[in-house]
């Protein structure tokens, strides 16, 4: 066993100035409040022995991630830890590990030196090898059997089984196995395998469907080719090219026959050019269909026929309009006279109105006179008031007489004249209306005549001859239509025979298209077949298998890691089981637990260790354990592992960092009692802020004790450490 004798620290984490500790008593208590440098003291021992191994994620301790080693207030950084160890033969080794700036870039360089008991100094790799020989333990085993870290207890306190199993793995020094299993799971390769498998199967299905589709297409295309008059033996490139030559020759000959030009069109050497050839010939056929001279003549005749038919209709319509206009005009004259007659009648009526108006004016003059006389007589003027100025007769009441005379002689006359004038005016209005109607009808007739003449002029132009009064344009047009129809009939046969030739060539193009369709389908099927038979397709299958093998290998490795971890856990638990049971029952002091069985199983799905704690009746204890019991359990496992020899070549000291986190007073007493047992063959370094634990240590530990009190930590000077 290796014992710890002396420790010197400078510039390490909480430390700035040099501080020295000696471990010449079996019980060394590091006592003080939190953040006073107690843990840094234990960390310094750990770092001196294991260097960078005790840092980072790999330690399984969360606080070690981004762990900062040099003290921040020591400029430049200068870390130095010296540890004096003594082996079982009493030989002393001084291990010095330092970290200081090196070179221009001021990077930090770690150095390890060992002063050997036989004299002499070793450094670097040699020192590292020598230290391994001396320590023998791995860092993992050190954490399991020498250094009880705070986190180890905190993690066991959880009720979450996976986290607790993880923590117990760590207590048993099996973090590496568990971490590797976690890393394997994190890679999620099963998902990759599924995806690759699905992709491959889906592509294979696509290829299969494409092949089936091509086969069906080819059958359908062969049927279509037969429907186009092609035999099975013609469904190949040679026949397609031969038909193309024939089509081209026939089109050339046709062009010659009808006297039209044809651009040079070449028959391709391979079937792939036939689609372009087809399109070129189709374009020319379409052009020929419209440019055949007979067709063009037909089009001219159709145009003429349409124009003449339209003219004939216009002529008929305008002649009818003219007839109706003339008839209305003549009927009007017969009924009301010509315009001249109407004008004379109007003149007569106007003169009569004039005469009547003059008579009325005279009558009105007399009426004025009588009115004046009446006014005179009605006044008070005296005179010949009894003789009538109208009739010359004597009248007793002249005024009354005059009123009656006026009414009888003038009033009647005026009313009669007014009525006659009114009648004459009505007559005049009628005559004027008739005169306007006469003008309108006359104008309508003129307009109809004009339109009919315009139609005649157009007919003359279309018939290319003069139309005289002696001609009947309607008959002339009919005659012309007859000659057009006759010519059209004659052209129809010629055009039909020309179109038949072009239809024949188009049919050949259809045949070419059908063969090209088949050749195209065959080529596509060949491509799909090539894909299925390609080396790339084979490689894909191989890669799929390769991934499956990789996953299988990983599965096997996972199993192996799980088995090793399980076996190691089983061995360690087997070696320490009794002690752990004993320690647990002592510390927890639970009267209902007379026996605690600690065992390990393997979770078949995850290959991880699953720990079980059962009582004497085989009942699971974890649901009924308090926080204090779980703390006791964690300490029991650590102390059991530390003292049982489960890990060989163990150290002659153990370090307990804040072990009483959730322990009650009774638990603490029991813990101290157990430490009394542990102290028999090793030093115990106990770091705590727990006053009760300190007091118990001094009252119940039977061996020699030493106490370092940590207080008054300052950034400049580090912890104030006082030995008591």
């Amino acid at each position: 066993m290796i014992s710890l004798r002396r420790l010197t620290i400078k510039g390490f984490r909480a430390y700035t100035e040099v501080k020295e500790f000696s471990f010449d008593s079996p019980m060394v208590l590091l006592f003080g409040e939190n953040a006073r440098g107690k843990s840094s003291t234990l960390n310094a021992i750990e770092w001196c022995l294991f260097g960078n191994e005790c840092m980072g994620k790999g330690t399984g301790i969360r606080e070690r991630i981004n762990w900062e080693l040099p003290n921040r207030n020591t400029k430049p950084p200068n870390v130095s830890v010296m540890l004096e160890l003594e082996d079982k033969e009493g030989r002393r080794y001084v291990i010095s590990r330092s970290l200081a700036p090196h070179g221009r870039r001021r990077g930090l360089e770690e150095k390890l030196r060992i002063n050997l008991p036989e004299g002499g100094l070793v450094e670097g790799e040699e020192a590292k090898a020598r230290l391994q020989q001396l320590v023998k333990l791995s860092f993992r085993d050190f954490l399991t059997t020498v250094y009880q870290h705070q986190e180890a207890i905190r993690a066991v306190l959880t009720q979450e089984p996976r986290e607790r199993n993880d923590a117990i793995d760590r207590l048993l020094g099996l973090s590496d196995h568990r971490n590797i299993l976690t890393g394997i799971e994190a890679a999620r390769l099963e998902k990759e395998r599924r995806e690759i498998g699905t992709s491959f199967d889906s592509f294979a299905k696509e290829v299969e469907v494409a092949l089936q589709t091509r086969k069906t297409d080819l059958k359908e295309r062969a049927v279509k080719a037969q429907q186009k008059g092609l035999g099975e033996s013609q469904l190949n490139q040679r026949e397609a090219l031969k038909i193309a030559e024939g089509a081209k020759d026939r089109l050339v000959e046709f062009a010659h026959q009808i006297g039209l030009g044809l651009p040079e069109i070449r028959v391709p050497k391979e079937w792939k050019g036939l689609s372009q050839f087809e399109r070129a010939l189709e374009r020319e056929i379409k052009r020929f269909r419209s440019e055949i001279p007979e067709v063009m003549r037909q089009q001219d005749l159709f145009r003429d026929r349409s124009r003449i038919t339209e003219l004939r209709e216009a002529y008929r319509r305008e002649k009818e309009n003219e007839y109706h206009a003339r008839r209305k005009f003549q009927d009007f004259i017969r009924e009301k006279g010509t315009g001249k007659v109407l004008d004379e009648k109007i003149k007569g009526v106007l003169e009569e109105i004039g005469k009547k108006k003059k008579t009325l004016e005279k009558t009105d003059a007399r009426a004025t006179l009588v009115r004046d006389a009446l006014e005179y007589l009605s006044s008070d003027v005296k005179g010949a008031q009894d003789r009538c100025p109208l009739c010359g007769n004597k009248a007793a009441n002249l005024a009354e007489h005059l009123k009656e005379e006026w009414e009888e002689r003038i009033g009647g006359e005026v009313r009669k004249l007014q009525k006659e004038i009114d009648n004459l005016r009505t007559q005049l209005e009628e005559l004027e209306g008739s005169s306007q109607e006469y003008d309108r009808l006359k104008e309508g007739l003129e307009s109809a005549k004009k339109r009919a003449n315009e139609v005649n002029r157009r007919i003359a132009k279309v018939l290319a001859r003069e139309i005289t009064e002696r001609d009947d344009p309607y008959v002339l047009l009919n005659k012309r239509l007859g000659s057009i129809e006759k010519e059209l009939k004659e052209l129809e046969d010629v055009v039909s025979s020309r179109q038949d030739i072009l239809d024949g060539i188009a049919h050949l193009l259809n045949q070419i298209e059908a063969i090209v369709d088949i050749l195209n389908g065959e080529e596509k099927m060949r491509i799909v077949e090539e894909i299925e038979a390609s080396p790339e397709y084979g490689q894909m299958e191989e890669l799929k298998d390769e991934l499956a093998i990789l996953l299988d290998d990983i599965g096997k490795i996972k199993e192996a890691v799980g088995e090793v971890s399980h076996e190691e856990a089983r061995q360690k638990i087997g070696a320490a089981e009794k002690l752990i049971d004993n320690y647990f029952r002592q510390i927890a002091g639970n009267p209902s637990v007379t026996n605690m069985r600690f065992s390990v199983k393997v979770d078949s799905r995850t290959a991880r260790n699953h720990y079980e704690f059962k009582d004497q009746n085989g009942e699971d204890l974890t649901p009924v354990l308090s926080q204090g019991d779980l703390n006791a359990l964690a300490l029991s496992i650590f102390l059991g592992m530390a003292t049982s020899g489960a890990v060989k070549e163990s150290f002659g000291f153990v370090m307990l960092d804040d072990p009483s986190q959730s322990l009650g007073s009774g638990h603490k007493e029991k813990l101290i009692d157990i430490l009394n047992e542990v102290l028999k063959d090793r030093i115990v370094i106990l770091s705590s802020m727990d006053k009760e634990l300190q007091d118990l240590t001094f009252s119940r530990i039977t061996g020699a004790k030493k106490k370092y009190v940590f207080s008054d930590w300052t950034p400049e000077e580090g912890p104030g450490v006082k030995e008591e």
């Binding site: 890393g183 990759e192 790339e536 490795i557």
Partner: protein
């Protein structure tokens, strides 16, 4: 015996499989010792992504060939 050796001894199979798994285990363990759990993950992801990338490249090429040239 270190966990590395213990697991290596536990791995079984014929000569080829043993060599293959042994090499893989060495890679896993080295990855772990360098970068912890992430090191294990990255070793395996690198191994598998090498395969899947090759596979996907071939698949893409063949799919393009099928759709561009093997279909109407």
């Amino acid at each position: 015996m270190s966990y590395r050796d213990a697991v290596a001894k536990r791995i079984e199979g014929d000569r080829d499989a043993l060599n293959r798994k042994g090499r893989l285990w060495e890679e896993i363990a080295s990855g772990y010792e360098k970068e912890g759990q992430n090191g294990v993950k990255s070793v395996l992801v690198k191994r598998s992504s090498g395969i899947t990338q090759k596979f996907n490249r071939l698949l893409r090429d063949l799919e393009r060939k099928l759709w561009d040239r093997g279909n109407d």
